[in-house]
């Protein structure tokens, strides 16, 4: 996997000493970067390191405060994304931003429709759409609604849209974060094809495997600064982590704790998604249990039903001796059971509120009718220190924090409730390596203090590293249980696909 860029050929895009400030925070500090045609550059860094900001500067969403951009040697300035797109730079966002009420062809041509006077040339667009989609290997009818496509297909549609705009530089922000394995493989193939055609690609990712698979060069950012660059061939996991974090991480393996008494008993629980599949299991104090399974296997639904956000169809839940059933989250919290939800921005946090207000949201009610200001301030200071939340002060709006720090706020909110049973749904999705390690350490510590931890994760390495035992779900029921000694990716996958031994 060698770079096609010859020494001496001018870079397609050159970033020279760019700086960018928001609200007094230096998001980028004199970052320089060169992109050559037919090259894949992986951009790595913790959340909040400035990767997204850099990409938005390239794509014309933000304008740099200092430094300059050079396109094929000429200095350029993009007033808006449209100008960048016209110059051949396309950004594919982390969150897919297609209008999903449009048809595939409609989305592909959005903003640059073919028309005759005020009328759309639908047939011509459909024809061209088929050709454009074929370049990315996406074979769907141009008449299908975007909303009916799988996430992977939508991702490919976004790429087709960028390429159709004759993109010379394609920037992809965590493109695989919501793709299945097969979809990811497909995307790799498309990226290799584009690379062969001379497109320069910037690939932002958290996943080391992707870097090793695709990248010609690896560039790391930390705190808005360029902190290292290595050739793809030389990249190793340790070297990349060192560039990103600048220090060695603590070991992720936990000391084994003997499980204590039973904390949570679930008997015959049926969720709405799978009303005919019932779930039984027990959870002991001091235990860390992972729930693995494919997407849509009923893992999140199980946690939601336990916490009382969704009504269970049937079944009994006993938490620390308290019978729950037909309960709402407030009852669960009183019984000592809390949930760190799957979608941090929608379910975990009130983004418009401050760190302080979010931290105290779940526990204020128990402290009387009037807001206990002293308690709230104290909690805020303690949580920021204990969880090492990177925020200038507690009054900061939580929306501007990075993903990892937001997740720490959610965790802090629930730790304040002093739970006996802690449920977590995808606790480290979109969380950078350092914050991830801190969250793991915190979970170990809680288990050591006797809290029962139950988490759902789609990342098998996470399950393998963290869990004492693992429940594997398939179509709403627990297909099998693996003790630590027998846990392996192969064993989990066998159960997750429904091939478990009864």
């Amino acid at each position: 996997m060698t770079s096609r860029a010859q020494d001496g050929a001018p870079p397609v895009l050159e970033v020279v000493a760019i700086g960018k400030r928001f609200d007094g925070v230096q998001a980028l500090r004199s970052v320089s970067l060169q992109l050559h045609a037919g090259e894949v550059v992986a951009l790595i860094g913790e959340n909040g390191a400035g990767k997204s900001t850099l990409m938005k500067v390239l794509a014309g969403v933000h304008q740099p405060d200092e430094g300059s951009l050079r396109l094929l040697g000429r200095e350029v300035r993009f007033a808006d994304p449209k100008a960048a797109l016209a110059a051949g730079i396309a950004l594919i966002h982390q969150e897919l931003n297609l209008c999903d009420n449009l048809t595939v062809a409609g989305a592909l041509f959005l903003g640059r429709e073919l028309r005759r006077g005020p009328f759309l040339r639908k047939r011509a667009m459909d024809r061209q759409a088929v050709a454009a989609l074929a370049r990315t290997g996406l074979e769907v009818s141009p008449h299908r609604l975007v909303s009916s496509l799988a996430p992977g297909q939508q991702q490919l549609l976004e790429i087709a849209r960028a390429l159709h705009g004759r993109a010379r530089v394609l920037i992809m922000d965590e493109p695989t974060s919501c793709l299945t394995d097969t979809e990811t493989q497909r995307l790799y193939a498309v990226v290799r094809e584009l690379k062969a055609q001379g497109t320069a690609i910037v690939w932002i990712t958290h996943r080391m495997a992707e870097v090793l698979e695709l990248a010609d060069r690896v560039v790391a950012l930390r705190d808005g600064e360029h902190t290292g660059e290595i050739a793809g061939a030389d990249a190793t996991h340790e070297r990349m982590v060192a560039m990103m974090v600048g220090r060695q991480l603590r070991s992720q393996l936990r000391p084994a704790h003997p499980p204590g008494e039973v904390a949570l008993v679930v008997r015959g629980l049926c969720t709405r998604a799978f009303p005919r599949a019932s779930v039984d299991f027990e959870l002991r104090c001091g235990e860390v249990v992972g729930i693995a399974g494919l997407l849509g296997s009923g893992r999140s639904e199980l946690l939601r039903a336990l916490f009382g956000v969704d009504r269970a169809v049937a079944g009994q839940i006993t938490c620390c001796g308290v019978q729950l059933g037909g309960h709402d989250p407030a009852d669960a919290v009183r019984a000592g059971l809390v949930l760190v939800p799957e979608d941090r921005k929608l379910q975990g946090l009130v983004l418009g509120m401050s760190v302080r207000e979010n931290l105290s949201l779940a526990t204020l009610r128990a402290r009387g009718t009037f807001v206990d200001g002293a308690y709230e301030r104290d909690l805020c200071v303690r949580a920021i220190a204990d969880l090492a939340i990177a925020t200038p002060h507690g009054e900061q709006r939580v929306a501007v924090l990075s993903g990892g720090n937001q997740q720490k706020v959610v965790l802090g909110k629930w730790l304040a409730a002093e739970p006996r049973v802690l449920l977590l749904d995808e606790p480290t999705r979109g969380v950078d390596v350092a914050a991830r390690a801190e969250i793991y350490a915190r979970l170990h510590e809680l288990a050591g203090r006797g809290v029962a931890v139950l988490f759902v994760s789609s990342e098998l390495p996470e399950v393998l590293a963290l869990a004492d035992r693992c429940l594997v779900m398939h179509q709403g029921r627990v297909e099998g249980e693996l003790p630590r000694q027998r846990m392996s990716e192969a064993a989990i996958l066998t159960l997750a696909t429904g091939k478990g031994v009864a």
Binding site: L346, L349, V350, M353, L361, A362, L364, T369, V371
Partner: protein, 324 residues
Amino acid sequence: MKKLLGITGLLLAVFVVTTLLAQQADGSNSFLTAYNLQNLLQRVGMFGILSIAAAFVIVTGGIDLSIGAVVCTAGCMLPWLLKDCALPPWLALPLVLLLCAGIGLWHGILIVGLRLQPFVVTLCGLLLYRGLMRWFTNDQTMGLGSDVEGLRWLANGRIPITASFGFPVSALILLVVAVLAAVFFQRTVWGRHLFALGRNEEAARFSGVATGRLTILAYVVCSLLAGLAGCLFVLYVNSAGASSFGNFYELYAIAGAVLGGVALRGGEGTILGVVLGSSLMQVLAMAIVIVGSGNQLEFAIVGAVILLGAAADEGVRRLLRRRR
């Protein structure tokens, strides 16, 4: 506080412009007299309560279009209970307020229990309650007559401060309501939860906040306050006709709240702002009579100034952001 700069500035500007224009128009008169001020405060008292009512539901991200119809209901029921049923005021007033709170409870249950949209529920309420009142009163004007002067003190009374100026009782009632509402919003856990669910109902629910009960509470408080204002309105004018009483008042209420910085998307706003916003509406209405001859332009001017207010507000916000 910074958020209120725009509205405060606009209010002062209207005061200054009106004072200057009034002097120019007629040298012998001025806008800022004790007489005008006490009339103004009296009306702000009534409309301010309406805007606070609207603020309660708007903060949850909802809307109440039935405020005017609830004003009508209270305005017709109070005279009916007092005159036709000959109930004593201390019984009639709480009964009317209870009925209005019941209407709010009904809205809340439909919105939370059946998951109907607030817009739809209260739009139907707007038609329903006024229609019921017209049928109930047989389209007769419901008058209070002259033997409830004691109760009318609530709307028309003044607490003498100087020889020429008395502080209107209705403004005093607003003051009490506003202080209670402000304490509720800013000092109680319920207020905090109300703002949280207005911003992100799902996250509030996932945090164990009883979002359903709180939403219902907001609608109950809204209709209760609208009912209180309705009672004051009918005491102010002494009679009510079901077909026209309180028509469009929901729009005045919502405009006052929004002008005062309550965001329609929910989770944002202060009671002080709401009171300032609804004051601006009343100052404008008065200024138009004081400055012009005839009032044909009233709605046009009110519309233009609200637009100006919204633009000024946004301008101030941007200025503050840039300075940071």
